[in-house]
């Protein structure tokens, strides 16, 4: 059996190089076609009718006027009479028509009679949620009473982080066409190989009859796994139209209302420690909402989960609001914010530098040495020694402060199969049923194949985004890069072994004595004895090599593994008269094992830091208690940071021989975790006051500074 292991660092030609994305130019020039760019001939447009009520029963629905409109090809009722609607924006009906404006007009012609029922949409005050509370039960480790008794200093605080949404640049949707007994499906999805099954089940057709294709997609962040209801209905509308393609993409209001949210988190946290900083006990009462089904439970205490004594109480709150979907590192950013805020508050009470306090307690984390090194590196990058001051010792109107946050993630490779084809003319194809979410998967795969074959990347044709290619897992949990890199490595090595077998006799050697380097196949230790890649492939005659490779998550064979860690540190300036927070600098120190492409890896961290800046400084879904609706389901008052709000971001990838030996680890999620905590802590350090809730907008900052407003 050939060895699949990654080449030794000093022997790598391509892995580890800073390679620009292969599709970068296509994307920046508009040539890249996303599912929402697809406009085939005869296209119909589907538009949803959504419920204006947060809680209501559909009494009756009259679609006759819409059906009679010229250009309308189909109307389907989704929430049939008797259906109890549990959040505003719920899909009630869908219309297909020959133009989008026409479909919108037709949607307005549908008459729905609702029995409006009382709704409940706000969870910040747990004492008011009544029967909406779903307690998860108490969880005790060690002896919390003894732990607090043992403490020489205790600290208590309340912290809050709101519901936010995914804000995918390309909204949720698909183009879908029912042709004969087959369905062609072009969704914006994180699950090319698996989404067909869900669609097929709902359409009651064999999954083999569904073809899924997606070259590019405009962001998912965890929210684009399912075959959404509007996709399924659009397939039916295509069938009803006699097989015309139907395009369905949510408008921005629906995108922000029903396409998934990240749960909120609120917590009252009490901590105890010895004077030297050693934590003795943790106690938290937390609550959160993930919409009607409740859900969302932050893993507390975060990372420091070996604190000897702790008591946890969590309550999920059911609201008449849109449902949760996985949001880049589900529940971890909230957990990091809650934990690191409580940590820095206790450190302040102990008059300790938070870095010293975190270091003092690293034995309660799974990876003390790595965090220790990363804290030191982060401190160096942000010039902690020079810029940090004890909390509250800033003066003047404009104050500066530093803070930190930490992260931890799994990220082992998912199940993945890949096929490599070497053609007799020397050209190489890689086929894999994965998807490139915009993170550079395509580029990484070409790098790995080129490395195995000793070829330039330009000779590798990467084919992904099609469920006719070998099955590869959905892109969730930062599992993609480990999975697809490993399967690709194996497929390419398997194919190369076949090529060696084919040409070894003509070089008077055995296959195990051959290597592929710099476009040549040559005898190990005798570089002059060999032939060009092209000559070698010609020896295949007319039959291409066609070999598979598989990553089995139970047996990754050292190619990939789990366990990423990182720290983020923020440097902010606060205008204490206006409550405006400006991020000066955010630094991220991140490990993720062997890094295939440091450039795209850094890009991942930069994007994650930007998401953290948004969530820390401006982002929040605002629910109206009266109408039960999202008040800011638009990009005007759902506020994302612009370029001028982001500040400087510095990324340090923790590339070390020890990390490299661990194999590949997924990176997409860990780096999106610690930034909010770091920024919130920096504001506390600057002002001397804990702003208990993010986003750190003037309303919340001034409330903390001056005790103004509802949140005082």
């Amino acid at each position: 059996m050939p060895s699949y292991s990654w080449p030794e660092p000093e022997k790598r030609k391509i892995i580890g190089q800073r390679i620009s994305r292969l599709d970068g130019l296509d994307k920046s020039s508009g040539r890249a076609k996303y599912p929402s760019d697809r406009n085939p001939q005869g296209l119909l447009y589907a538009v949803l009718l959504t419920s204006p009520h947060a809680h209501a029963k559909v009494r009756s629905i009259d679609t006759s006027a819409a059906e009679k409109m010229k250009g309308v090809t189909g109307v389907r009722v989704i929430s049939k009479p008797g259906t109890e609607i549990q959040w505003a924006g719920t899909e009630v009906a869908i219309v297909a028509a020959t133009s989008e404006p026409l479909a919108r007009d037709a949607v307005r012609a549908i008459k729905v009679d609702y029995e409006v029922l009382p709704h409940f949409v706000r969870e910040e005050d747990l004492s008011k949620v009544g029967a909406r509370a779903k307690p998860a039960g108490e969880q005790i480790t060690g002896d919390p009473e003894a732990g607090f008794k043992d403490a020489e200093v205790t600290s208590e605080g309340t912290y809050a982080i709101p519901v936010i949404t995914h804000c995918c640049l390309e909204p949720h949707g698909a183009v879908i066409q029912w042709e004969g007994d087959k369905v062609n499906y072009w969704p914006s999805t994180q699950a090319v190989s698996t989404v067909a099954n869900e669609l097929a089940r709902n359409l009651e057709i064999p999954a083999t009859n569904v073809r899924v294709q997606m070259e590019h997609m405009g962001g998912g962040f965890g929210s684009k796994f399912p075959a959404d209801r509007w996709h399924i209905e659009s397939a039916h509308l295509s069938k009803a139209s006699g097989g015309k393609p139907v395009k369905v993409f949510l408008d921005r209001a629906s995108e922000l209302t029903i396409a998934g949210v990240r749960p909120s988190h609120f917590a009252k946290i009490k901590m105890g420690a010895k004077k030297d900083g050693t934590i003795t006990a943790w106690q938290s009462e937390s609550w959160s909402t993930g919409g009607f089904a409740g859900g969302g439970m932050a893993p507390l205490p975060y990372v420091f989960n070996k604190i000897p004594n702790f008591r946890l109480n969590h309550t999920a709150v059911s609201l008449n609001t849109g449902p949760i979907r996985a949001w880049r590192a589900p529940n971890h950013p909230q957990a990091s914010f809650l934990t690191c805020s409580a940590f820095e508050d206790l450190a302040a009470k102990l008059n300790m530098d938070p870095i010293t306090f975190f270091e003092k307690n690293l034995q309660f984390t799974p990876r003390p040495d790595i965090y220790k090194r990363q804290l030191a590196k982060g401190a160096e990058m942000i010039d902690w020694k020079k810029n940090w001051h004890p909390r509250g010792q800033g003066s003047g109107v404009i104050r500066r402060g530093l803070g930190l946050g930490i992260n931890s993630w799994g990220g082992a490779g998912h199940a993945s199969k890949a096929r490599t084809i070497i053609h007799p003319d020397g050209s190489v194809e890689l086929e894999i049923g994965t998807q490139d979410l915009g993170v550079g998967t395509r580029t990484v795969l070409a790098m790995i194949a080129a490395e195995s074959f000793g070829l330039p990347m330009s000779m590798i044709k990467v084919k992904l985004g099609d469920n006719q290619y070998p099955v590869s897992g959905p892109s969730g949990g930062s599992t993609t890069v480990g999975g697809v890199s490993s399967s690709t490595r194996k497929a390419t090595i398997n194919a190369l072994t076949k090529l060696f077998e084919a040409i070894a006799p003509s070089l008077n050697t055995t296959p195990d004595q051959l290597e592929a380097i710099d476009g040549r196949i040559r005898v190990i230790g005798n570089p002059d004895k060999g032939m060009s890649w092209k000559q070698a492939c010609q020896k295949l005659g007319v039959t291409p090599i066609n070999e598979m490779g598989e990553n089995d998550p139970k047996k990754p064979e050292g190619l990939n593994t789990a366990g990423a860690a990182g720290v983020q540190m923020a440097d902010v300036t606060v205008d204490t008269e206006t409550g405006r927070v400006k991020l000066n600098r955010l630094v991220a120190v991140q490990d993720c094992g062997l890094i295939v492409n440091p450039k795209t890896a850094e890009s991942q961290v930069l994007g994650a830091c930007i998401m953290s800046v948004c969530a820390a400084l401006t982002e929040e879904r605002v629910m109206d208690p009266q109408t039960g609706r999202v008040l800011n389901a638009d990009m005007e008052f759902y506020k994302l940071a612009g370029i001028s709000d982001i500040g400087e971001i510095l990324v340090h990838m923790d590339i070390t021989p020890e990390n490299d030996k661990r194999g590949i680890i997924g990176l997409g999620e860990p780096c999106a975790i610690g930034g909010i905590a770091a920024i919130a802590n920096a504001v506390a350090n600057a002002t001397g006051v804990r702003v208990p809730q993010v986003p750190l907008i003037p309303k919340n900052v001034l409330a903390a500074l001056h005790g103004q407003g509802r949140n005082a």
Binding site: V622, D624, A641
Partner: protein, 326 residues
């Protein structure tokens, strides 16, 4: 968006003849940065849209003895690039800089800035201009973090105009033209707090077109200071524009106007009067800021805006006086 008739006249005479007696009959399209989104959301559905962008006489900026004439079709970008504006009216240039979207600065017009509709989220989600449900305003008992801190209702939205406060402080007038004649209105009186859902928040009648603004020639020290949640495209939480007529180092007379704090720009007369005869110092500016918000009546969730308005006045005064604002 409902279907509508589109007209694109090339003269003011033709354009005014195309307007109607009500807003439902016809509306004017200039930069389109507001009207189009209102129509897409079915908040406004005029039967006719009258594009005025082809009317040459509505463009251009010119200086004369009487002051600076700014055509209604002048874009934010043109305004900010104008030398007279930059040198004489930094408060106006600064207000334009507050519109941080290049796209909107390129398309949005001076007339449109004054005529745009409020951004109140109850209004924009289909609850009418005053955000009423079952005869009661949703604002005082709802989410009012961005709403008015002055006034007793029923209009709790804030005037969205970026230029209004600066133009009022500078004593500008607007020219309004209809088929029956022309009238001039002080910008201060152009903004009106509506008493009901069917009124408008401006003095313009449905059959009139705002054609130009004239800022009188008077040497003032002027400045605008605004506070927002973001530096990138965002609406101010509070703005203050000040114009100071100086006599030596002391203020002879002053105008202090707040934006985004009431249904109209809020003219802080008493606060401005305090400045007469004074030299601007940090203490004077602080006191005037405090006086400017003395009459504020914040709602349940926007007391923080009182503080912001106060600070905006203080910093605008210091900036106008050429002193360090922060």
């Amino acid at each position: 968006m409902l279907n509508f008739e589109y007209a694109s006249p090339s003269s003011l005479k033709e354009a005014t003849a195309l307007l109607g007696a009500s807003w439902a009959d016809a509306q004017v399209l200039a930069g389109g940065t507001d009207l189009i989104s209102l129509m897409k959301d079915y908040i406004e559905s005029p039967k006719r849209v009258v594009n005025i962008k082809n009317i040459k006489e509505l463009g251009g900026i010119s200086s004369s003895k009487g002051g600076l004439r700014i055509g209604a079709l002048v874009t934010f970008d043109e305004l900010a690039a104008n030398a007279a504006v930059r040198t004489q009216f930094p408060s106006l240039a600064s207000a334009v800089r507050g519109v941080t979207s290049p796209q909107i600065r390129n398309m949005g017009t001076v007339g449109g800035d004054l005529c745009q509709r409020p951004r109140c989220w109850y209004y924009r989600t289909g609850n009418g201009l005053l955000g009423m449900k079952d005869g009661k305003s949703l604002v005082p008992t709802g989410e009012n973090r961005y709403h008015a801190i002055f006034g007793e209702g029923p209009a709790y939205f804030v005037s969205p105009s970026s230029l209004g406060p600066a133009l009022i402080a500078l004593g500008a007038k607007a020219k309004l033209v209809s088929t029956t004649g022309t009238r001039e209105v002080d910008i201060a009186k152009f903004f009106v707090a509506p008493a009901n859902d069917t009124s408008r928040e401006i003095a313009l009648a449905p059959n009139e077109i705002l054609t130009e603004i004239v800022i009188p020639a008077a040497a003032t020290k002027n400045a605008t200071y605004e506070v927002r949640e973001k530096d990138a495209l965002d609406w101010p939480l509070a703005t203050a524009s000040v114009a100071l007529k100086m006599k030596g180092d002391a203020v002879e007379s002053a105008q202090v106007v707040l934006g985004h704090v009431a249904a109209t720009p809020y003219v802080a007369t008493q606060a401005a009067e305090m400045l007469a005869g004074k030299t601007i110092t940090e203490d004077v500016a602080e006191a005037v800021g405090k006086a400017a918000v003395a009459g504020a009546k914040p709602l349940s969730d926007n007391a923080y805006k009182v503080q912001l308005a106060k600070v905006a006045v203080k910093r605008a005064l210091l900036e106008a006086a050429g002193k360090k604002a922060v």
